[in-house]
């Protein structure tokens, strides 16, 4: 498609190219330049809007940045009464919930993507992919609703006790699975997030896997590899950059996810090793406290948290995009 469009650009309106004001007026008369400038203005509006966003976050977080500086990231207290704000518990909570969600979602999503690209017949694969895309369209507040009334009770009564009973005694791993279990907390939030990001991993990974040349699979099978070996040792490594891209994309979504996490994480600004402990994330604290922020410094600290969140997702999205583009062009593979 894009080739035809570019040929067009080259071939089309150059016939007026005489230069000079007469030619310009002529083109103006035909409306081409007007349409060009008009659409260009709107496109430039997007640039303006995005830079406006960064500017507002930067300017409005000035008070907090001036007062706390880099200490903001290391301070563990969040005390609106004495105007003492530190982001550490929120950054910790955001990272832990996102990592938990990836630990669950990456194997699940990759396996499903392999099934859809390598095993399922085309029609079946398309139908399942469509259903999984629908899962991505479900609003996050609905995930939160299901989280509160289904995942939290399940975690409190069934899954939590089982995990504490089994993994709680394992030497190193054990300290993540100890302590009181309220049902809400890092693990619950991570599980809900995993369900929310898995569709992104599946759809991007499937696309990337489908771009792996057919000959790669055939060569491996001809050498006597089983179907699984051909997939795991040839196809997946070929597509690994793009798969990594899908993981970054999912991570960016998980970091910025607000409602579902707010509803199940317990909203307690503490740093605890136990995954069953209640915590807090950047997005959740903004959602909960923004309207209640009375002091200017309080508001400014919340906006600085927004800035931190923006930068995190900005970097991840940029990396994800680069990786996915690299694989789909076929440049991702070393050989």
């Amino acid at each position: 498609m894009s080739t035809s469009a570019t040929t067009m650009d080259r071939a089309a309106p150059r016939r007026f190219d005489g230069g000079g004001p007469r030619a310009f007026l002529h083109r103006l008369g035909h409306g081409d330049e007007v349409a060009h400038v008009l659409t260009l203005t709107f496109a430039a509006g997007i640039l303006l809007l995005t830079s406006g966003l960064v500017y507002e976050l930067w300017v409005n977080s000035h008070l907090s940045r001036a007062k706390f500086g880099w200490l903001f990231f290391w301070t563990r207290t969040w005390d609106p009464i004495f105007d003492n704000f530190g982001a550490a518990p929120f950054i910790y909570g955001t990272l832990v919930t996102s990592i938990v969600s990836l630990v669950i979602a990456v194997p699940l999503g990759l396996a499903a993507a392999i099934f859809l690209s390598e095993l399922a017949p085309r029609r079946m694969s398309d139908t399942i992919s469509f259903l999984i895309d629908l899962l991505a369209a479900v609003p996050s507040v609905i995930y939160g609703l299901l989280g509160i009334f289904i995942v939290v009770p399940l975690m409190r009564t069934t899954v939590g006790p089982i995990l504490i009973g089994s993994l709680g005694h394992v030497p190193v791993l054990g300290k993540f699975f100890k302590g009181p279990n309220y049902g809400v907390g890092f693990l619950t939030a991570g599980v809900v997030l995993a369900i929310m990001v898995v569709p992104f991993i599946i759809s991007v990974s499937r696309e990337v896997l489908l771009t792996v040349p057919r000959e790669q699979r055939e060569a491996a099978l001809a050498l006597g590899a089983t179907r699984w070996e051909a997939t795991w040792k040839v196809v997946v490594p070929w597509a690994r950059t793009g798969i990594l891209g899908s993981v970054f994309l999912a991570l960016a979504r998980a970091l910025g996810e607000t409602m579902a996490v707010t509803m199940v994480i317990g909203n307690d600004p503490k740093i605890a090793a136990s995954l069953f402990a209640p915590g807090y994330t950047i997005a959740a604290v903004i959602a909960n406290e923004f309207t209640e922020a009375t002091g200017d410094l309080y508001l400014s600290a919340l906006i600085e948290l927004g800035l931190v969140l923006f930068l995190m997702t900005f970097i991840l999205n940029g990396l994800a995009r680069l990786l996915i583009v690299a694989t789909e062009r076929g440049g991702g593979h070393p050989s």
Binding site: A11, V34, A43, E56, L108, A137, P139, V141, A283
Partner: protein
């Protein structure tokens, strides 16, 4: 020995391949679980009052969310009015006029904007539309949702315009039409179905957004006349009702969840059916 190895490799093959299938069907099962739960719980509590009544004061049972339904529609209208013109025009620019470098910058920025967490968009809309006037309003909510509509519309518009065959453009131009005439009378009508689809999907996506509305549109337990006052919306109502300690509110949260999900899924499935019939481009 090598026989053992072969058996091992073959059974590994079967086990792993089965697991991939289990993963795929497991994820699909989650979708049906969600649907089932909402239909079951929401269906029980959905009644005519839900669509026609205002919320009752705390402590009284019954009442509905008529104001939130109208509120969501008003917010969507505002979002469409603010976001769609920018998105559509920028999409036309990228597909029909754009040069190389500038288009790349615009595309990259659009993707960047698309990836910004919705809560951060909320902060931005707050500083644009709430801080100057010092109170929450429907307009501020519309600004937040409108910003979110833009990147989705840009990309889908560009994609569907590019899917229009170049020969159509060349035909129009060979007949002497200028470029903008070609676009307005030939290219845009050819891509109409796809573009409308993209617009609907964009609106369906922001219809379920909660986070950016919390401190822009805020919420309201009564009707919100005009555009300058705090306004209720379905997603925010679901949130406040779900975290409240009243059983009757939980019941209504389920009902609202069912209505919201039905709207979003109908838009998604409907556009998909239209697309597969018209054979539009691939969406990512």
């Amino acid at each position: 020995m090598s026989r053992m190895l072969l058996i091992w490799r073959k059974s590994l093959n079967v086990v792993m391949l089965t697991l991939t299938g289990v993963a795929a069907f497991g994820v699909v099962a989650v979708l049906f679980l969600i649907l089932g739960y909402l239909v079951w719980n929401g269906g029980k509590s959905l009644n005519l009052d839900f669509f026609t009544q205002l919320p009752k004061p705390v402590g009284e049972t019954g009442g509905g969310m008529a104001n939130a339904i109208v509120g969501s529609l008003k917010l969507l209208l505002l979002a469409a009015l603010m976001g769609l013109p920018v998105g559509l025009m920028a999409g036309v620019y990228l597909a029909e006029f754009g040069g190389k470098t500038f288009s790349y910058v615009i595309r990259y920025t659009t993707d960047l904007l698309n990836g910004v967490p919705s809560i951060v968009i909320g902060i931005f809309a707050y500083s644009l539309a709430v801080l100057p006037v010092r109170h929450f309003s429907a307009v501020a909510g519309g600004v937040a949702l409108g910003i979110m509509v833009i990147p989705i519309t840009v990309r889908s518009t560009e994609e569907f315009l590019r899917a229009v065959p170049g020969s159509l453009r060349e035909g129009a131009m060979a007949l002497g039409a200028s470029k903008w005439r070609t676009i307005a009378t030939v290219v845009l009508p050819a891509a109409k179905g796809g573009i409308i689809t993209g617009v609907l999907l964009a609106l369906a996506r922001v219809a379920g957004e909660t986070a950016p509305l919390l401190f822009t549109a805020f919420s309201n337990r009564f009707w919100s006349p005009g555009w300058g006052q705090p306004i209720a919306s379905l997603p925010v109502m679901i949130y406040t009702y779900a975290i409240a300690p009243y059983d009757d509110w939980h019941r209504q949260a389920w009902a609202a969840g069912l209505v919201l999900l039905a709207l979003v899924l109908v838009a998604n499935i409907g556009t998909r059916v239209v697309l597969s019939r018209g054979g539009g481009g691939r969406s990512t």
